[in-house]
Amino acid sequence: MNPKRLLIAADASENAKRAASYVGEIIGPRQGFNVTILYVIRYPERDLFPDDASWQIKRDEEDQRADNVLADLKEVLKSRGIPSSSIDTEARRATGFSIAQTILEYQKKNDFGTIVVGRRGVSKAEEFLFGSVSNKIVHYAKDCAVWVVE
């Protein structure tokens, strides 16, 4: 693993902004680091929509949301002094049921030494019913550090 390569697992929440701010504060203008912001897109299931047209509208919105979040978080990092050339952004579709799994696959494939993820803080009942991306990352990550920013 490369400790100077950091992966921020982003979503549209305030927690992701906090995670980016934290990374910005830690790294700042130091040379030799690379920060990648990854937004995993999960389109809603077709079952939730009465027709293909309304489903497509929602998927387009999701794509747009990913682009917006990535642009916003890049600005957060730049505002803390990280040079633009050291920041990459990536939007990709979830490969299966789990966003966490997609993030971990990406981390492994691209040799990131640190995963940074925001946590929204869910109740036990919510975690049982819906799961938690950050908890799964903490649980299943291997050969890397995980920073959980609350």
Binding site: R42, P44, E45, R46, D47, L48, P50, F97, S98, I99, A100, K124, A125, E126, E127, F128, L129, F130, G131, S132, V133, K136
Partner: protein, 334 residues
């Protein structure tokens, strides 16, 4: 129009006599307008509508206008027709509210997936003339599992040792049926006590109603697994226990006083999950499975497999002689 229906009924099912003859529908979009005496024509089959289905909850009947109980005129068989009704509503699960979507397409897909698998209700879907996906469901003759269990006339101890092992064996097969859905990327979506039925004659447990869909979450199977857990808690207890019914069920004030916050359901705050405090003969291992669904839980089941791995060894522990006494499992309901 009513003449047309009268002629159809006379030709196809002359033994039927109706109070009134309605209209023939080939487009089911306006399902509210379709009622008793009307005939729905789908794929060259004719379904005479008898009534709307109703859902009974807390003594209140809630009509489901998009679900029609029918007779297939060509054969005389009874069928349920589920017509297209898309809705989004907030499903209340204890203190949580979850956006829920009714999806005819999802149910049609699952009916295809489970064709011939009698752990599920059977049926198929066809398009009406307007392209609405109509689900044509075979009626299960039987009763709700929870009602059947509640009505077993014996005390809890006898139920626990002599009935529950067989019931749990069948229940585990129902859980494997849910795993089958999950393995194929589907969820049941509405695992409740009134959606698992026992078929008369065979004693087979069968799941019904698969049309609920949800926004995808990190753990897509959590809702189904929680539903299985709640069912298990009911089966082990033979009923639901709350603080308000303990006394009427003969439990002492000391037992009631021993119930603490962590003994209740993670979701339904008034339901007691720690049944060992009520029935100390419940083995620790089985009670631990129940406690995964309590406020005390720190680790949650993410897959049906994990749940079953914990549950399976509990059955023999309850009554190791059970299989010898009743080969083939529990036959109470056949």
């Amino acid at each position: 129009m009513s003449k047309q229906v009268k002629e159809l009924v006379r030709r196809l099912r002359p033994s039927l006599s109706l109070a009134e003859y309605g209209r023939l529908f080939t487009d089911t979009t306006a399902y509210m307008e379709i009622s008793y005496g009307d005939v729905i024509e789908i794929d060259n089959h004719h379904y005479l509508v008898l009534r709307d289905e109703v859902e009974r909850s807390f003594g209140i009947e809630d009509p489901k206008y998009w679900v029609k109980r029918c007779i297939l005129l060509e054969t005389g068989e009874r069928r349920i027709l589920k017509l297209v009704f898309h809705e989004k509503f907030m499903l209340k699960l204890g203190a949580l509210e979850i956006p829920c979507y009714r999806s005819p397409e999802k149910e049609a897909r699952i009916l295809d997936l489970v064709r011939g698998d009698l752990r599920f209700m059977q049926g198929y879907s066809r398009f009406d003339k307007k392209g609405n996906v109509v689900r044509i469901i075979e009626i299960i003759s039987g009763k709700r599992l929870d009602h059947a269990v509640f009505e077993i006339e014996t005390n809890h101890r006898d139920y626990f040792y002599n009935h529950l092992p067989g019931i749990l064996k069948k229940f585990m097969d129902s859980c494997r049926a849910i795993k089958f859905l999950h393995d194929h990327g589907e969820i049941h979506g509405d695992i409740r006590r009134d959606h698992l039925w026992i078929e008369h004659g065979t004693g087979r447990y069968r799941w019904i109603d698969f049309d609920y869909a949800y926004e995808f979450e990190e753990n897509p199977f959590g809702l189904d697994i929680f539903g299985l857990g709640s069912l298990l808690i009911y089966l082990v207890g033979k009923q639901i226990f709350t603080m308000s019914n303990l006394e009427s069920q003969g439990f002492s004030k000391e037992v009631a006083a021993s119930i603490s916050e962590e003994d209740f359901s993670l979701l339904y705050k008034n339901r007691i999950v720690n049944l060992k405090k009520l029935y100390p003969y419940i083995p620790k291992r089985l009670n631990l499975v129940l406690m995964h669904f309590s406020n005390k839980a720190e680790v949650f089941y993410e897959t049906v497999d994990e749940f079953l791995q914990d549950l399976e060894p509990c059955i023999d522990e309850i009554n190791p002689n059970y299989a010898l006494q009743t080969p083939g499992g529990d036959n109470s309901f056949e």
